[in-house]
């Protein structure tokens, strides 16, 4: 009875009634998130969905201006075309090799360097600062310097190779598929883009691993040393178990990033010399072939491949809380 009376009383006062704390939170929460949602919705979510729709259209760059919603169709021709086109599977293979080797290289070098810098020494701060150079350097500056370093006419690497290592001719590192070393074909351009990526990304791995190493309790390690464990044993049985979480997480993140990397590969080789990864192919389809449909279809295929990895990542992040 009394409950009902308050109910009517509330209704009578209507909207003049000051909002409760709970209601205010609800309203303010939504208002404060609104700008973010608006931007991300308009520039990420909507285009994301549009990408799926575009992958089903037969559409060229010149069609953009005249395209209307009435022209929409549903056809999987683009996927057929993409999957059967020359070089797609080679590009897919290159992408997986590139992402895998880069990931392993980046995480491993980050780990090795973090371990080497673990115990303090004079000048450690300066060394740490210098190690961050590849990470801080703008990508374009880095690729430009690397291209110059590897230049066949005046680059330092070829000069050193010819003068000190006895190479008979300069190597065109950024466009050569492979060279014979002891009868084995060794990929050249692909190795360069991988080494570049490891170089650029190991500082981040180093930072993450260093942070995790600082959180390893000292007494555990000291106890192991007192018990007579050798340095490698301490690493294997005490440190490594503590690091597996961060290493796995770093590995997955790096794989996702390398898998979709366009800029670094494009700026170094433009996809030449067997470095055409799928991301570069998407760009080629869009800009060179001017085909929006096939470019979108390639994008959708990349998305599907990454979606699986994202699910894996979110599960791991939940467990790790990094």
């Amino acid at each position: 009875m009394s409950g009902r009376r308050t109910g009517t009383a509330r209704a009578a006062v209507g909207s003049r009634r000051p909002r409760t704390r709970r209601e205010r939170e609800e309203l303010h929460g939504r208002l404060l998130v609104a700008p973010t949602l608006l931007v991300v919705g308009a520039v990420v979510l909507f285009p994301f969905l549009a990408g799926f729709v575009l992958s089903l259209q037969d559409m060229r760059l010149i069609d953009i201006r005249f395209f209307s919603l009435a022209d929409l169709e549903v056809s999987f021709d683009n996927f057929d075309r993409v999957l059967s086109s020359a070089g797609f599977w080679a590009a897919a293979r290159t992408t997986v090799v590139y992402a895998t080797v880069t990931t392993v290289g980046s995480v491993l070098s980050g780990l090795v360097v973090a371990l080497a810098l673990r115990r303090p020494f004079r000048g450690r701060g300066a060394v740490r600062g210098l190690l961050l150079v590849p990470y801080v350097l703008p990508v374009v500056a880095a690729t430009t310097i690397w291209t110059t370093l590897l230049n066949p006419q005046y680059g330092a690497v070829n000069e050193i190779g010819q003068r000190l290592l006895g190479w008979s001719a300069p190597i065109n590192f950024l466009s050569t598929y492979d060279i014979d070393i002891g009868g084995l074909p060794v990929p050249v351009a692909l190795t360069v883009v991988i080494v570049f990526e490891v170089w650029k990304s190991f500082p981040l791995a180093f930072l993450f691993i260093t942070a995790r190493l600082q959180a390893v309790p000292r007494d555990l390690e000291e106890a192991a040393v007192v018990d007579g464990a050798s340095p490698t044993q301490v690493f294997r049985h005490v440190l490594l178990p503590q690091l597996t979480g961060v290493l796995a997480l770093l590995g997955l993140l790096r794989f996702i990033w390398s898998f979709q990397n366009f800029t670094d590969v494009y700026l170094l080789t433009g996809g030449a010399g067997g470095t055409e990864v799928v991301a570069v192919r998407v760009y080629e389809e869009l800009v060179t072939r001017a085909n929006i449909g096939t470019a979108s279809a390639l994008g959708v295929l990349m998305t599907l491949a990454l979606a699986g990895l994202l699910v894996l990542y979110l599960r791991m992040a939940q467990k790790e809380r990094v």
Partner: protein, 296 residues
């Protein structure tokens, strides 16, 4: 001492390992520093040598009197003055990056505060969802974004670029700020509310100053992303030399036959604002810490 007490075999393994690792450690440190900083040093050296000399002897170092800074002047000067227009690219990029930082940090400060402090419908979705957006490939979004922005006439404009950079940086910025805001004690905020601050005042007068080092770090990160971005600048502005950003400018110049020292000078020049940002942020970080200490 330990060597004498231990058994023969273990003693060997121990000393051998320790010595090998000590040597390896030095090799790793020296090698890593050389690999990390070497290319930048090489670029810096090349940028102060005349091109003819670089071709004649690629590995030589310039003597103290031979340092030639003219490449920087040529790279920076406008095309009309016989240069390559880098100063203009830098002004453009500075403008784009500054707007991106301002808008992104504003949006994500509000969003991050809500995500940390307020219980509202959909909060958990907001939290989880943004990380997924951050990890999502730019190249995949590039195609539909290019189509949509062409359709509404935003390709070729810097506004379009800022909007895209915002969308690309808000998720990570929000994620970073969330962490910093969580460290601000709720009791201070409640005290401010009791004193009559409304929600926005709590954010601007209490949370923001207390989390300033974090906000500065976030801003710097956003600035770096915007300053470095290449793909969308390439897609949107490649035909419009007047509006090239630094990344696009250097990359395009590298495609032409431009003397290597000028290119190196350009690469070094576009790194300077990033380094300046780091020094600035470091000062902010330090002053933020001391400001907190004084009150304690």
């Amino acid at each position: 001492m330990a060597e004498r007490r231990g058994g023969r075999l273990r003693l060997d393994r121990h000393t051998v390992e320790s010595r090998v690792l000590a040597a390896l450690r030095i090799v790793v440190i020296v090698g890593a520093v050389a690999a990390a900083a070497g290319p930048l040093l090489y670029g810096a050296v090349l940028s102060v040598r005349p091109f003819t000399e670089v071709i004649a002897s690629p590995l030589a170092l310039p003597g103290p009197g031979e340092v030639d800074l003219s490449s920087y002047g040529r790279a920076l000067a406008d095309e009309s003055a016989g240069g390559f227009g880098l100063a203009r690219f830098m002004r453009t990029s500075l403008m784009v990056s500054a707007w991106t930082v301002l808008l992104t940090v504003t949006c994500s400060v509000l969003g991050a505060y809500a995500a940390v402090r307020l219980r509202f419908f959909g909060r958990d979705t907001v939290n989880g969802f943004f990380l997924a957006v951050y990890l999502f490939p730019g190249i995949v979004l590039a195609v539909p974004l290019f189509v949509l922005f062409s359709r509404i006439g935003l390709t070729g404009s810097l506004v379009g670029l800022v909007v895209i950079y915002m969308a690309q940086t808000i998720p990570v910025s929000l994620y970073m700020l969330r962490g910093y805001f969580q460290a601000v004690p709720v009791s201070v905020e409640e005290a401010a509310e009791v004193d009559g601050c409304n929600r926005l005042q709590v954010i601007t007068r209490v949370v923001l100053p207390m989390a300033l080092p974090g906000v500065a770090a976030t801003g710097l990160y956003v600035f770096m992303i915007a300053w470095n971005e290449f793909l969308f600048a390439l897609l949107f502005l490649v035909d419009d030399r007047q509006r090239w950003t630094v990344s696009l400018g250097i990359a395009r110049l590298a495609d032409f036959a431009i003397p290597a020292p000028v290119l190196m000078a350009g690469s070094i020049a576009i790194t300077v604002p990033i380094v300046a940002g780091f020094l600035l942020a470091q000062r902010l970080l330090v002053s933020g810490l001391t400001a907190g200490a004084e009150k304690g």
